[in-house]
Symmetry: C3
Subunit: 654 residues, 3 copies
C-alpha cells in the first residue's frame, strides 16, 4: 500500500493565534499527519494591493511544524480579494444569460481574463517565494476546485475574443471550420472568425460542434491557468515537493486528464452524502443509503482520480459529518467518516484529509460539520479518527496492482452527452458509473482509464458507451487480448462531432461487424422487456436497431435484438437496467476467466496488494468470508457502515 496519511484542512485565519498551538497538538495527538492551509487566505495576506502581511501565516506554519505536522500549502487564487475586483471588475465571470456574477462568495474570476491570470501568478509567486523552501511543506495545492459553481465557462466579451482566437488557431480558416461544423446546415456559414458568437444565446440550440469546441476552449483555459501556476511552483520548489489540485466529485466541465498531466498527485473532495442527495440516484437509493452514501460513488471517484493522478491520488476534503450545501444534509452514520477513509485507502489513496478541523460559526459554511464543533469541543467524527488511526496502523504497507478490469472514461464524450443528450439520463458520467457499479457488484476491482491508455494486462475492458472513441483505442484493445464490452453510443461521433462515415459504432466495427441503423430514445417509464432464462430485466433510455449478420443473443418484447457478440467482443445496443447488466457482465466475466463474486446488495470488495477490504453500505447486516486469509480488522459479519480487512497473502508488501 502507498503510505496513507490522515490529513485535515485547517484555517488558522479563522481562529486566535493563541489557539494554534493547541489545535496543532490536538491534531498530532489524534494521529493526523498532514495539514492543508492557505487556499482562502489572500485577503489576510494582502489586505491592500502590494501590502503583504506574512507574519501570521509564518506563525501558524510554525505552530503546525512545531507539533511535527507536515503542511500542504495552497495558492489562494480561488478567491481574489474585494480590492482586486474593484480595480479589475473584468475579472468577474459572466453567466450564460450575459450577466456578470458578482463578488461576495468565491471563484469570482473568469479563466480567460489575462489581467487576472497575471494577478494569480503574482500572488502565487509571492507565496512561493515566501514558503517554497519551508521544511514543513511537503506539497502545494494550486487554486481550489477549478470550475466549481459553473465557473469553467464564462460568456463575456473577453471570452468571446479568446474563443475566436482559439478557433482560428485550431481551424486555421473559416472554410475549415465551416466544413468541420457543417455550417452549411441552416445557412450558418462564416466568412470570418469575427462572425462566430458564443453559443449561449442562440434562438434555438446552437450547432453541437460549436458547443463542443466551446467546451474544449473553456477546458483549455483551465489547463493553461493551472499549467502556469505549476510551472512557477516547480521553479521555486525542491523536486520532492509535489503539486496537486483539489478536484471535485461528479464534475466533468474540463478535461481532468489534461489538467492532471501537469500535476504530481490528483486529490479530490469526497462528500458521499451531499452528492447522493443531489445526484442521479433513484429516490429509493437516496433513502437506502442516506447516511452512508451509495456503495460505488466514492469508489468510482477514487479509481477515476487514481487515473487522473497517473497512479497517485488522495482525498483532500473528506466529509466528516453533515454538509451544508445539498438540499437535504443527512447526518452520516457514526462510523461513516472512517468507513469512507478506509475505502479511500483500499483504493490506494496516499492521503485522506478531513474537511475541516473546526466548524466555523459564521459565513456560508457555518452549518458544515468538522472534526471539532464550533465551540472547540470534539464533534461526533473526532472519536472515529482515533479508531481510524488505530486501524491504519494495523495495516501492512502494500503495493497497488493493476486491476483485472479497465473502464474507459473520456471527458469530451461527457460534453457531447451534455450538449446532445437525445434521451433523459444521457450523461456519460452516469453511464460510466452504471457499468462500474454493475461490475463492482461482481466483486471485481476496476481501473478507470482514459481513451489513450495502454491496455496490456487487463482481462476485461469496458467501454461504457464512450461517444468519441479514438480509433487507436480499438487497436490497442485488439492488441491487448482483453475481452471487451461496448455500450450503446460507443464511437458514435468523430472528433469534429460528425456521425462516423461508416455509421456508429465507428472504428468498433473492426471488432464487431455491425452498425446502428436507428436509435430508440425512451422517455422515463418506457422500456423494452427481456425475459430469457438467465437474463431478465429491461432496456431503458436508449436502444439501437442494429444491422448485422451476427445473431442477437437476446430479444426484447418489441422484436428487438439485444447484445451482439463476436468472439471476445460484445456490443450492448441499449442501456440495460442493473439486474440485466449484472447478469450479462457476469457471463462475460466468466468467459474471460475472471473470478467473480456476485455480492449482496450494498456489499463491496476491494483488493490492495495482499489485502482484501470488505465494505457494507447496506442497511442489512451482510456476511462475507473470503476463501483464504486472516481477518485483521472487523469480522465476517458487517453492519451498515462497517468494514473488514483480510490479509490474503504477503505478496506486494513493501
Amino acid at each position: 500500500m502507498p503510505i496513507s496519511h490522515i490529513g485535515v484542512c485547517y484555517y488558522p485565519e479563522h481562529w486566535e493565534p493563541q489557539e494554534w498551538p493547541h489545535h496543532a497538538r490536538l491534531m498530532r495527538d489524534a494521529g493526523i499527519e498532514l495539514v492543508r492551509i492557505g487556499e482562502f487566505a489572500w485577503s489576510r495576506i494582502e489586505p491592500a494591493p502590494g501590502e503583504f502581511h506574512w507574519q501570521w501565516l509564518d506563525d501558524a506554519l510554525a505552530s503546525l511544524a512545531n507539533a511535527g505536522l507536515s503542511v500542504i500549502m495552497c495558492t489562494p487564487t480561488a478567491c481574489p480579494p474585494a480590492w482586486l475586483i474593484q480595480r479589475s471588475p473584468d475579472t468577474l465571470p459572466v453567466d450564460h444569460h450575459g450577466a456578470p456574477r458578482q463578488f461576495g462568495s468565491r471563484r469570482h474570476y473568469r479563466f480567460a481574463c489575462a489581467a487576472y491570470r497575471d494577478e494569480a501568478l503574482r500572488i502565487s509567486d509571492a507565496f512561493a517565494q515566501r514558503y517554497a523552501s519551508h521544511p514543513a511543506i511537503v506539497g502545494w495545492q494550486l487554486d481550489n476546485e477549478y470550475g466549481c459553481h459553473a465557473t469553467t465557462r464564462s460568456y463575456s466579451d473577453d471570452d468571446l475574443k479568446a474563443f475566436r482566437a482559439w478557433l482560428e488557431h485550431k481551424h486555421g480558416s473559416p472554410a475549415t471550420l465551416n466544413e468541420r461544423w457543417g455550417t452549411v446546415f441552416w445557412s450558418q456559414e462564416y466568412v470570418g472568425f469575427d462572425e462566430v458568437q458564443l453559443p449561449n444565446q442562440t434562438v434555438t440550440e446552437a450547432n453541437p460542434s460549436h458547443w463542443w469546441d466551446f467546451y474544449r476552449f473553456a477546458s483549455d483555459q483551465v489547463v493553461a491557468f493551472n499549467a502556469a501556476q505549476a510551472t512557477l511552483l516547480r521553479q521555486r520548489c525542491d523536486s520532492e515537493v509535489w503539486l496537486t489540485h483539489n478536484f471535485m466529485g461528479n464534475f466533468t466541465d474540463f478535461d481532468h486528464f489534461t489538467v492532471g498531466a501537469d500535476l504530481d498527485v490528483a486529490t479530490w473532495d469526497s462528500y458521499p452524502l451531499g452528492f447522493l442527495d443531489q445526484g442521479w440516484f433513484s429516490d429509493e437509493e437516496k433513502l437506502t443509503y442516506r447516511r452512508i452514501g451509495h456503495p460505488d460513488w466514492a469508489a468510482f471517484h477514487h479509481d477515476l482520480y487514481r487515473a487522473v493522478g497517473r497512479g497517485r491520488f488522495g482525498v483532500m476534503e473528506q466529509q466528516p459529518g453533515p454538509v451544508n450545501w445539498a438540499e437535504s444534509n443527512a447526518l452520516p452514520l457514526p462510523s461513516a467518516p472512517r468507513f469512507w477513509a478506509m475505502e479511500a485507502i483500499a483504493h490506494g489513496a496516499e492521503l485522506v484529509s478531513f474537511f475541516r478541523f473546526q466548524q466555523y460559526p459564521q459565513a456560508q459554511e457555518q452549518m458544515h460539520a468538522a472534526l471539532r464543533l464550533s465551540n472547540g469541543d470534539p464533534a461526533p467524527a473526532w472519536s472515529q479518527i482515533l479508531t481510524l488511526r488505530a486501524h491504519i496502523d494495523q495495516l501492512p504497507a502494500q503495493k497497488i496492482d493493476r486491476a483485472p478490469v479497465a473502464l474507459v472514461f473520456d471527458y469530451p464524450s461527457c460534453w457531447s452527452s451534455e450538449i446532445q443528450p437525445h434521451c433523459p439520463g444521457a450523461w456519460q458520467l452516469e453511464w460510466a458509473f452504471h457499468f462500474y457499479s454493475c461490475v463492482r457488484a461482481l466483486g471485481l476491482d476496476v481501473d478507470i482509464v482514459h481513451p489513450g491508455s495502454e491496455l496490456t494486462g487487463y482481462r476485461l475492458v469496458i467501454v461504457p458507451g464512450t461517444i468519441c472513441l479514438p480509433p487507436e483505442l480499438v487497436g490497442e484493445l485488439a492488441a491487448s487480448g482483453a475481452t471487451a464490452v461496448f455500450g450503446p453510443r460507443s464511437a458514435s461521433r468523430d472528433s469534429d462531432g460528425r456521425l462516423p462515415k461508416n455509421l456508429a459504432p465507428g472504428a468498433v466495427q473492426t471488432l464487431l461487424p455491425l452498425r446502428v441503423e436507428a436509435v430508440d430514445s425512451m422517455r422515463s417509464g418506457a422500456q423494452r422487456q427481456i425475459e430469457a432464462a438467465r437474463f431478465r430485466g429491461t432496456v431503458t433510455r436508449w436502444y439501437e436497431q442494429i444491422s448485422t449478420h451476427l445473431d442477437a443473443r437476446l430479444s426484447d418484447d418489441q422484436n428487438g435484438g439485444f447484445w451482439y457478440q463476436n468472439g471476445a467482443y460484445h456490443y450492448l445496443n441499449g442501456y440495460p437496467d442493473q439486474a440485466l447488466l449484472v447478469s450479462i457482465l457476469n457471463q462475460i466475466c466468466d468467459q474471460a476467466g475472471l473470478d467473480v463474486h456476485k455480492l449482496d446488495e450494498g456489499l463491496r470488495l476491494r483488493r490492495l496488494g495482499g489485502l482484501l477490504f470488505v465494505f457494507n453500505s447496506s442497511p442489512r447486516n451482510r456476511r462475507f468470508h473470503p476463501h483464504q486469509g486472516r481477518c485483521l480488522i472487523g469480522s465476517e459479519e458487517l453492519s451498515q457502515g462497517e468494514y473488514a480487512v483480510w490479509l490474503q497473502h504477503e505478496r506486494n508488501c513493501d
Copy 2:
C-alpha cells in the same frame, strides 16, 4: 380524392454535386414526385452581400428535373446569413427578459424589423427572378415555420415602437384604449401612446387586454411579412404555380387563418412522436402510443390545415423515423411512416413530403432520421415508401366531401386562454382537441372551421369553449339548422377582452337561456363526479355554476347541475373527461341523426369520397368491418400501425 403526391425535402447543398443525379434517380424510382429545396440556402446563394452564386442551384434543379421530378422552391428568409446580422444586428429578436437572441441557429430575425423585411424581399425577389419560370417548379414555399422557437413575439425597442404605432392605428386615442382595456383599474391610465410599454416585464401580470393586443400585433407582423412575399411571388410567377407556407403542429402564436388567406395551399410539419412526447398527453398515453403517435393528433392538424388552406393542404415535412428535438425521441414502428402518410391522404392531403431525403451527419439535426442514412444507405423508412407508393396507386381518385360535424377553432381565443388560463390545462388548442378526439371516437369525420365560416350543411357544430365567439357565428349557426354543443368558457369575452355585458356565454344566450354565475377552477386531482345510468365520469379543470330556468340533465356529487339543453342546443358547463364527453356526444349525435360507430380505443375511421379508411393506433389488434364495401388495402383485422382502405361506393370518384 385530390391527387396525392409523395414528396421529399432535399438539401443539395449538403452533398457533392456528383451525387445529385443519383439522388434524383433514387427518388424517382421510389415513386417520389415532388422535391422541396432551398429554404436554408441563403448563405450558399449569396455568400457575401450582393455576390450571387446561382450555378449550383441551377445544376441541382436540373438534376431533379432531368429525373422527372417536380420542385417546390423556397424563399430562404428563415435563415439570414452571418454577414447580414453583422451589418444589421437589429435584425435579431429580443426575448421576454429583454436579451437579444443571437446568430448561431435559425429564425434569428424579428418580424417588426423594417430593414430585415427589405432584405427578405430583396433575396426573395432574386430567387423569383431566377426561377419563377423554371418549368420544374410547381409551387413556392415562403420562408419556413414562421414563429418557430418562440420568434413570433419579440421585445426590442423596435417592437415597442411598432406596437405603439399599431395601438394608435387601432384605437385612435389613448382615451379609447383606456376604455377598452379598463386601465382605470390599478391606476393604469395612459395620457399618450408613448407611455404604453411592452407587457413582458411588469411587476405582476399585465392587463390581459394589453397582452391580447400585443399578441394580435405580433400576429399581424407575421401576416404582413408573409403577404409581402406572396405579393412579390405572384407578380413573378405564372398563375398555376401555387404558394404555400410550412406551418407547424401544436402552434398557435399567430392567426393561421389570416396568414393562410394570402396563400393557395396550407402545408404543415407532421411529427407525431415528437409532439406526443412534449405535448399535453398523459403519461399513460405517451407510453401507449410511444411509437405510433396519438390516434387523433395528426388527424386534428390535417383537418385544421385543410381549413387554413381553404380546402387545399398537404404535409410538407413528414416524420420518417426518430426526430432529434424532443426530450425523448422514440423509434417509430416500422409501418409508421406510411401509416401517417395514408392518414394524411385520407384527410385530403395533396402532398405528403418526407423530411428529409438523407440524414445530414453534422449540425443541429444530425440525429434526425431521414429516408436514407447519413452514409447513403436506405434507412428503415425507405422500404415503407415503396409500399406506400404501391398503396396509393391502388386508390381511385376521390372528391372530398363536407364532413357532418364542424368544430370551431379560433386563434385569438387560444391567446386568451394562454394569457389568462385561470385553471391548469386551459389551452384552447387542447380543449378543441379533446372535443375533436371524443367525436372522432364515435367514428365521425370532422371539419375544423374558423368562427367566420359558413355553416350550412353541417349536422352538428361543436364550439369547444371558444372564448371569443363573434355574435355573427351564433346567427349563422341558428340559420344553419345544425345541432350545436357549446363547451365551458364559450363566449366569455368580447373582442376587447371584457366579460360580456350579459355575462358568459354572451351571444350564446340567444340560443340557450342561461348564464354563468361563478366558475369553479379545479386543481389537478380535483373533480366533480357524475354517476348517471348512461353517463359516468368526472368534470375536471373547469366547472361553471349556472343560473337558468332550464333543468340540468345531470348532477354531480357536489350538488352541481351539468349539461343544459334547449332543443337542438347544448351547453356543457364544465370540462368532462373522455368517457363522459363521449357518452354525451354519443347521445347528441343520435338525436342529430348522425350515424355513429363507437370505436375501440385507438381505432379511427375517415371517409374520402367513396373510400373508408380505418386506422389502428392501439397496441391491441383491432377488428373493423364496415356494413358495406370492398377492402382495397389491408383487412378487417389491424395490428398497431396498420390501416385498411375500403371502397364503399363510386360516388365522387373523379
Copy 3:
C-alpha cells in the same frame, strides 16, 4: 367582543357616477357599515402632474355618507400613474437578475427611491388635506399590500447605495462588519463599505449574514416609508381617526411588528382558497379543504395580526368567491364567506371587509369574484352577507381575553430560514403554523406573540423553533412561570447570524441543560420512526443529535433520542409529524393543567369572552356539544362550512 363591522372594498372610479347612490343603498341595506375606497385612484385624482380632479371623489364620498356608511380612505401610493414613471423611471423596482420591472400592473416602485418617497408624501398630503376632516372617514389605510409581488427587495444602484449607507450606520466600520459577518471566510474582507455589493448575483450563495442584513435593510425601507405617511396623516387627522395598512397572508418579507408599531390597527387580506392552492399544504389537504380552506390558515393569521395590531385588527379584504390569481381558483362552498367572516369575529376582528363590492369586467382581476356580479346582479356571496348580518346582530358584545397559550413568532427568524433552509420545508412560518395547528387541534386558543412580548399569564408558551431568540425572552419566560415547549432550531443563531458561542439552543440552555451536536436534515420521504405506547409518528425534515445528561423521553428507530424535559421545559429536537406533535402537546398541556379537547379533524373551537365558537372545515359532518352553555347560532351538528356559537357565561360582556 370588540365591535365587529361588516365592510366592503369599493371602487367608485369603476362605475358611472349615477350608480353610486344605488350602490350605497345596496350596501346599507345589506348591513354593510364600512367602505374602503381610493387605494388605486391616483390616475383619476391627478391625471397629469399637479392637475387634481377631486370632484368625483367628493361626490362618491357624499353618496356613501348619504347612505349612512362610514369610509376608510386610502393613500393611493401603491400605484403611481404612468406620467410619474415616465418622468422618474428610477422609481421602478429592479429584480434579482438586475432587470427593471416595468409599468403596467401595480406596486411599480422601489422603497429606497427618495424621489418616489417625496411623491408618495406629496399625493398623500393632498389626500389628507382634502379629506382629513371628512366626517364619514373613520380611518385611513396607508398604501396597500406592502411588498406584494416580491417588491420589498429591489436590486438597483439606488438600493445598493442606500444599503451601503445603512450598513455604515449599523456597523460603523468595515472592520466591525467583517467581524460580524465573518468575512475572513473565503477571503471576503472589505476595506470600505463601497466594496460591498448587493447579495443577489454572487457566483454561489452570498454570506448569510450579508443576506440577513439586506433583508433587514429592505424591511427598514418599508418601515420608513410607512412611518412617513403615518406621521403626515396623524398631523392632518383627528385623534379618533385610526390608521391601518392592509397586510397579506403567508407574507414575511418585512417585519410586520415594526411596521405595525406605527399604526393603530392591523388589517389583512384573507383569501383562504387562493393560499390553500399555492401554500405548503399536502395534496390531500388541498383536495379535502378545496372549497373552505385549511381549518387553521385564516385563524393563524387573525391571531398573528391581532399581535401586529397590538390587540386591534380586522380583515380588510375577505374572499367572497373564487379569486383569479392562484393556479386553480376554487369556488367556495356557499356558506364560506360568512364562515370566514364569523371566524374572524371569533378571533376578535373589528372589521370584516369583503373584496369587493362588484366584479370589474376588465383588467387583471376581471375573474375575481365580488359580492355583485359584473353586470350588477347579486353574486352567490350576497345572500350570505345578509345571513352574516343577522348572525352578528344576535351576538352580545364581548371582551377578548388573553389566550392560555402563547406562540412566539419572529420575522428575522423567518428570513434566516429562507436564507439558509438547510432542509426542504424549512420556512419558519410553516413551522409556526404547524405548532399552531397542532395545539389548536386540542381545542385551545392561542395568542401569537413577538419575541419581545410580556408573557405573564400564559400557561403554555410555544417557541416553534425560533432561530433568533432574544435572551431576554428566555428570562421573561422563566419569570412567567409558564410551561414551555421549544422546537428544533430554537436559538440557533445570534443576532449577527453566528452559531451561539455555547452552541444551539443558545440561551435556552439556562432552562434545559442540553446542546445540539449535529443536525440530521432529511430529504422528502426520509423519516425517523417513533413507536411508543402513547406517542406514534415520525420525525421528518430536521433532527438534532443532543448532548445532555437528561434522558430522552422517546427514542426513534435509528437509536436517536427525542424530546427532552427539564421540569416545565421541553425541547423537541426534531420536526414531528402532526399525530406525534399533537400527542406530545396533549401530554404537556395536561401537565400544565390546560383544559384540552382533542378535536375531530377539521373541527376547531375559539372562545371570545363568554362565547364559544365551533367551526367545521371537514367534509364530514362533525358534532360538538360543550359541557356548558346555550346555543345562539347553529347547532351541535355541523356540516362542512358551518359554525355554531354558544353562550357559555356572561363574563366579559360589555
